[in-house]
């Protein structure tokens, strides 16, 4: 059996070397609060992230400190943002996806079981591959969690959130528990109501052209990004299986070719991995981000509807001359809320766009460069191999 810890140890080491991180969103750096994940450890079914903070803000006791956090705590932080009415006017940075090692764990298990039936070379090779795969997922997970924290830390309002500070500083378990069944059910209903309501709210014609435009754009954009993301995933998956095939061919061949094939496989696999990192992850991130932006618009739309309803109620109350004061207060609260949301939302959406364009630019340039690099590498490999085959002419 292959022991998990063995692989994890491996991971740990490599994770430390993970310096130029695959952060796929551009963030303005602010010296007053810097957050990163310096380390991560995978244990059985959990991943423990070491969150490292460097800050000159007065409400932290120290300038530099680290805490260990788990994925659930990230989710808790995210949910606390979402539930906070104060932040209704902001795009809440999307929560990081759950670490999913099931597939490679399963493979690892199978590998352990099949250990006896394989030759030693095959086994080592398979193990290495699996480890590489595991590591790639691991790195990605870490990067996603880090991006979330960085986004929050860079946000002018969210960075001041108390929960966030607790998350960063409190050096013991936050003892957040996962949601129980009842809560999950509630969440589900909430979502159903929300989406139904969302359709209703979306149908309301906006008074502001900017928001009207953003709304139609985001709706369309979100769907397209969703589509692209799914398609890119499929593309990359088949690319990976093609690379796997090449690899298996390489292990079956015995001649000068295995060298070529295994190298070519490495390149092909790297192409797939880079596409995954630069393209699929970008699309996935913007899938979630556009969802967050959509949520913002929903909240604004909701506020708008509330405001209009409050206006109507006030009109009615005035006509009947009953409960006018109460209606007026409600109307004013709704108005304020709406105004506040509209104000911050406009800025948030503009920021979103700038961020998006910058991120796409960065990733697309990197993607093209990496593709070029790999293709050139492959070309060279093929040329040298052909040279050898043709007898060094």
């Amino acid at each position: 059996m292959v022991r998990h810890d063995e692989i994890n140890k491996h991971k740990l080491q490599i994770c430390k070397e993970l310096n130029p991180r695959a952060v796929n969103v551009d963030l303005q750096t602010d010296a007053t609060l810097q957050v990163d994940i310096s380390d991560a450890l995978s244990e059985r079914d959990k991943v423990k992230f070491t969150v490292h903070t460097k800050s000159t803000l007065p409400n932290f006791k120290q300038n530099e400190f680290s805490v260990v956090r788990q994925h659930e705590e990230f989710i808790w932080l995210h949910d606390s943002f979402v539930e906070n009415e104060e932040y209704a006017g902001y795009i809440i940075p999307p929560s990081p996806p759950r670490p999913d090692f099931d597939a490679s764990r399963e493979k690892l298990q199978k590998l352990g079981e099949g250990e006896g039936s394989m030759t030693k070379e095959e086994f080592t090779k398979m193990k290495q591959e699996l480890e590489a795969e595991y590591l790639a997922i691991f790195k990605k997970t870490v990067a996603m969690h880090e991006v979330f924290l960085c986004r929050v830390a860079a946000h002018p309002v969210l960075r001041k959130d108390l929960n966030f500070h607790v998350f960063l500083e409190y050096n013991q378990d936050l003892s957040v528990r996962g949601k129980n069944k009842k809560e999950k059910l509630e969440d589900f209903f909430k979502n159903v109501v929300k989406s139904a309501d969302g359709v209703l709210v979306a149908g309301v014609k906006d008074v502001d052209d900017f928001f009207e435009h953003e709304k139609t754009f985001l709706l369309e954009y979100h769907n397209r990004v969703k589509d692209s993301s799914a398609k890119s995933d499929r593309m990359i998956r088949s690319h990976k299986s093609a690379a796997d095939d090449i690899n298996r061919i390489a292990s079956t061949l015995h001649s000068p070719l295995p060298l070529l094939f295994s190298n070519s496989q490495k390149i092909e696999a790297r192409v797939a991995a880079d596409e995954d990192l630069k393209l699929a992850d970008l699309l996935k991130y913007y899938l979630r981000e556009s969802q967050a932006a959509k949520d913002l618009l929903y909240r604004r739309g909701r506020a708008l509807v509330d405001y209009e309803n409050a206006n109507k109620a006030l009109d009615k109350a005035r006509a009947k001359n009953k409960d006018v004061l109460q209606a007026e207060t409600t109307q004013q609260v709704c108005c304020q809320k709406f105004e506040k949301i509209s104000e911050s939302a406009k800025q948030e959406l503009i920021d979103f766009k700038t961020r998006r364009v910058a991120a796409f630019r960065k990733n697309l340039v990197e993607l093209a460069e990496l593709e070029l690099k790999h293709a050139k590498g492959n070309l060279q490999l093929l040329q040298s191999c052909l040279g050898v085959l043709k007898g060094d002419t």
């Binding site: 754009f217 369309e220 954009y221 397209r224 990004v225 589509d227 692209s228 398609k231 890119s232 499929r234 593309m235 998956r237 088949s238 690319h239 299986s241 093609a242 095939d245 090449i246 298996r248 061919i249 079956t252 061949l253 015995h254 001649s255 000068p256 070719l257 295995p258 060298l259 070529l260 070519s264 766009k353 998006r356 364009v357 796409f360 630019r361 697309l364 340039v365 993607l367 093209a368 460069e369 593709e371 070029l372 293709a375 050139k376 492959n378 070309l379 093929l382 040329q383 191999c385 052909l386 050898v388 085959l389 043709k390 007898g391 060094d392 002419t393």
Partner: protein, 713 residues
């Protein structure tokens, strides 16, 4: 491409020749004295050496030759003194003395033809060598000659000679019956061989020599049987009044230029290396990849040295035939080009069939014209196979199997109108048929078959019947049944021939190996197709995303990305079909061919079985005779005696048949291995070139995209 190949292969071939000659020399010099221990790693070392030799050759050889060690003068003496002594005891001795004269006589013969020029060079050297053993430069001359024909001949011949010398007892029959010319040839070459020894010594590669030595001394037993058959075959041909030309055609595998006789001999010499070659392509790997590559390269030269047969035959042939020989040389290069084009659906419904245009281009005189075309349908191809296997498979010939019949695929073609999968099916079959036919005609003996000629030339062929049983699953079943039956026999048959024992094992392993590989390549093809499809979908999706993006530059970049992905999709698709046609189909072909090779082994085993049965019968008859003698029944005794003589004759006949079939099978397998190595090499290069091409395209596409991405503001 082929040109590029040709040159280096010549060089390598040359070195092989040198090494081999060297080995032969040493053998001649010392085999009678004390055989050195058998080194373990002979093969890699040899190859390595021969390669390094290539570099060092032009540079150092001369200087090395300048300082001949005292030993260098000895080999010639050995050659001229020792071997004859050895040989005198056997029937070959007279042959040996005769050729020397002949060769000597030929040296002064003036020559205008190129071939003769080339040819006479070494001979001149010979004479020099003979006159002064301390000649400084005989080798460089040879070296600079682009054609190493005579050498390769030399390479081919000596072992035979040696073997013959050593294995006199076994050999006794054939040499006697062999014609003068062949023996002359042998002797002539031995003569040259002696000289080359000289050269070799000047070269001074003693370590190599030592390591290499065991090789030739290992296989002689095997080689011998082959030689025997050669010798047997040749006189027949010679007696045939037709002319030299026909003989060439028969003895020389027409398309693959080495003359049958000499090449087989070469094979004999290299038989161990050949084993390796066979694996070189697929199985090798045991050692460093470099070795394998060298092996591959080394195979090629022996095939692609058309000059060899010419030189060898010219040495024995009167000068008037030189022209003919030259002709033959040129034919060796492009004797027969067969292409299958224009698949066409004939008829409608379930009676429809595909007809293919079979075009032949040839300069062989056995055909009526230089170019001709006929239309053939698939069952005609199967019919050809059937006819050929009926006639030749019991002789141990390797009949290239035709592609399998695919009822599903054909039904699709029959029913479906214009659908890409049936178009692919037709193209796949067309290519497979083309390769099949090319394999048939590249077989020296099959090319001579009237049925093959008829198939290529005759307008109308009688409709092939009952090909059904042969095709597809039926054919496979038949093969498997045969294999099973034989595997039972295998237990009984105690293989005395190590070569066959190993070879059978090799073939089986290789077949398994290829099957595994084939499955993987198929899966690669499928995944690539999938990738291509997914890329296309993604490209569309990205284009949509781009259209909804409100930043102009980003939108533009996204639609550019969509375009790039679209093109990449095309590339993946092309690559998938390249994977399939150059790689997967090659493997499928060789899986079938290896099946056919196994069939050859089966035939040999059947022959053995017959022989053994006859032996047993003879034994029984003898016992019966003894009983009769004892029982004193003279009336039946005569009958029993007659029976015994009858069975004795049968035993001898079957034994001879078995030996003949063994030799043929061995020759066929060696030929097959050579062709396989060449085929794989060629296809792999083709395949890699296709990969290279797609990578180049990829670079182009991304290069064009990069500025677009950078332009996003």
């Amino acid at each position: 491409m082929s040109l590029c190949h040709f040159y280096p292969s010549l060089v390598i071939k040359f070195f092989r020749v040198c090494v081999c000659v060297c080995v032969e020399l040493k053998m001649a010099a010392s085999s009678e004295r004390s055989p050195p221990p058998f080194p373990d790693s002979e093969e890699p070392e040899l190859l390595e050496d021969s390669d390094e030799g290539a570099d060092a050759f032009t540079g150092t050889s001369i200087s090395e030759m300048d300082s001949p060690s005292p030993d260098s003068t000895r080999p010639p003496k050995d050659i001229f003194n020792e071997p004859p002594e050895d040989i005198f005891s056997d029937p070959l001795s007279n042959i040996n003395s005769e050729p020397q004269k002949k060769v000597d006589a030929k040296i002064p013969s003036p020559s205008s033809d190129e071939a003769v020029d080339l040819f006479s060079d070494p001979l001149d050297d010979d004479s020099e060598v003979m006159s002064s053993p301390e000649v400084q430069n005989p080798m460089p001359d040879l070296l600079n000659e682009p054609v190493e024909a005579p050498k390769s001949d030399v390479l081919g011949e000596p072992p035979v000679h040696r073997d013959a010398a050593r294995q006199q007892d076994v050999f006794e029959d054939p040499p006697k019956s062999s014609s003068k010319s062949s023996s002359v040839k042998k002797a002539a070459s031995s003569e040259m061989f002696g000289d080359d020894d000289d050269d070799e010594d000047l070269f001074k590669e003693p370590p190599k020599v030592v390591t290499k030595k065991p090789q030739p001394s290992g296989p002689p037993v095997d080689v011998f049987t082959e030689v025997k058959s050669d010798v047997k075959v040749k006189p027949q041909v010679k007696d045939d009044p037709t002319d030299l030309f026909a003989e060439e055609a028969l003895t020389a595998p027409a398309p693959k230029p080495s003359a049958g006789s000499s090449s087989s001999r070469t094979n004999g010499v290299h038989s161990e290396e050949q084993d390796l070659f066979s694996e070189a392509t697929v199985e090798l790997s045991l050692d460093s990849p470099r070795n394998d590559r060298k092996n591959k390269d080394a195979v090629k030269p022996s095939v692609s040295a058309p000059a060899a047969p010419v030189a060898s035959s010219s040495s024995k042939a009167p000068s008037k035939t030189l022209k003919e020989l030259e002709e033959e040389e040129s034919e060796d290069k492009f004797d027969l080009n067969i292409s299958i084009t224009n698949p066409e659906k004939v008829g409608d419904g379930m009676n429809a069939y595909m007809a293919y245009k079979v075009s032949t281009q040839t300069s062989l005189t056995m055909f009526r014209s230089k170019t001709f075309t006929v239309r053939r349908r698939f069952s005609d191809f199967l019919g050809l196979f059937e006819k050929l296997s009926e006639k030749h498979s019991q002789n141990g010939y390797l009949i290239p199997p035709p592609p399998e019949k695919s009822i599903l695929g054909m039904t699709k073609v029959k029913v479906g109108k214009e659908d890409p999968s049936s178009a692919e099916f037709v193209e796949r079959r067309r290519a497979a048929l083309e390769r099949y036919l090319q394999r048939v005609v590249s077989h020296p003996s099959l090319l001579q078959d009237p049925d093959v000629r008829e198939f290529l030339e005759k307008e109308e062929l009688p409709r092939a019947v009952s090909t059904q049983a042969l095709s597809g699953a039926g054919f496979l079943k038949m093969l498997n049944k045969a294999t099973d039956a034989v595997s039972k026999m295998t237990i009984k048959m105690n293989e005395q021939d190590v070569w066959f024992d190993e070879k059978i094992q090799d073939v089986e392993n290789e077949e398994q190996h290829l099957r595994k590989l084939h499955v993987m390549v198929e899966s690669l093809v499928n995944h690539r197709k999938e990738l291509s499809g997914n890329t296309a979908v993604f490209a569309k999706s990205v284009a949509m995303l781009g259209s909804s993006e409100d930043n102009t530059a980003l939108s533009r970049a996204l639609s550019q990305l969509a375009e790039v992905e679209d093109r990449i999709e095309q590339l993946h698709q092309e690559q998938a079909s390249n994977d399939f046609f150059t790689f997967s189909e090659l493997l499928a072909d060789y899986i079938r061919l290896l099946g056919a090779v196994r069939g050859c082994f089966d035939q040999r085993m059947k022959a053995w079985q017959r022989w053994q049965d006859a032996e047993n019968m003879l034994q029984k008859k003898r016992e019966a005779e003894a009983k009769l003698l004892w029982a004193n029944k003279p009336d039946k005794l005569q009958q029993a005696k007659d029976e015994i003589t009858e069975w004795e004759a049968k035993v001898t006949q079957y034994e001879r048949e078995f030996e003949r079939i063994s030799a043929t099978v061995r020759k066929e397998v060696i030929r097959f291995d050579k062709e396989k190595a060449r085929d794989f090499n060629r296809q792999v290069i083709k395949y890699l070139e296709s990969l290279l091409h797609s990578q180049q395209q990829l670079i182009k596409y991304w290069d064009a995209f990069l500025p677009e991405a950078k332009a996003i503001v």
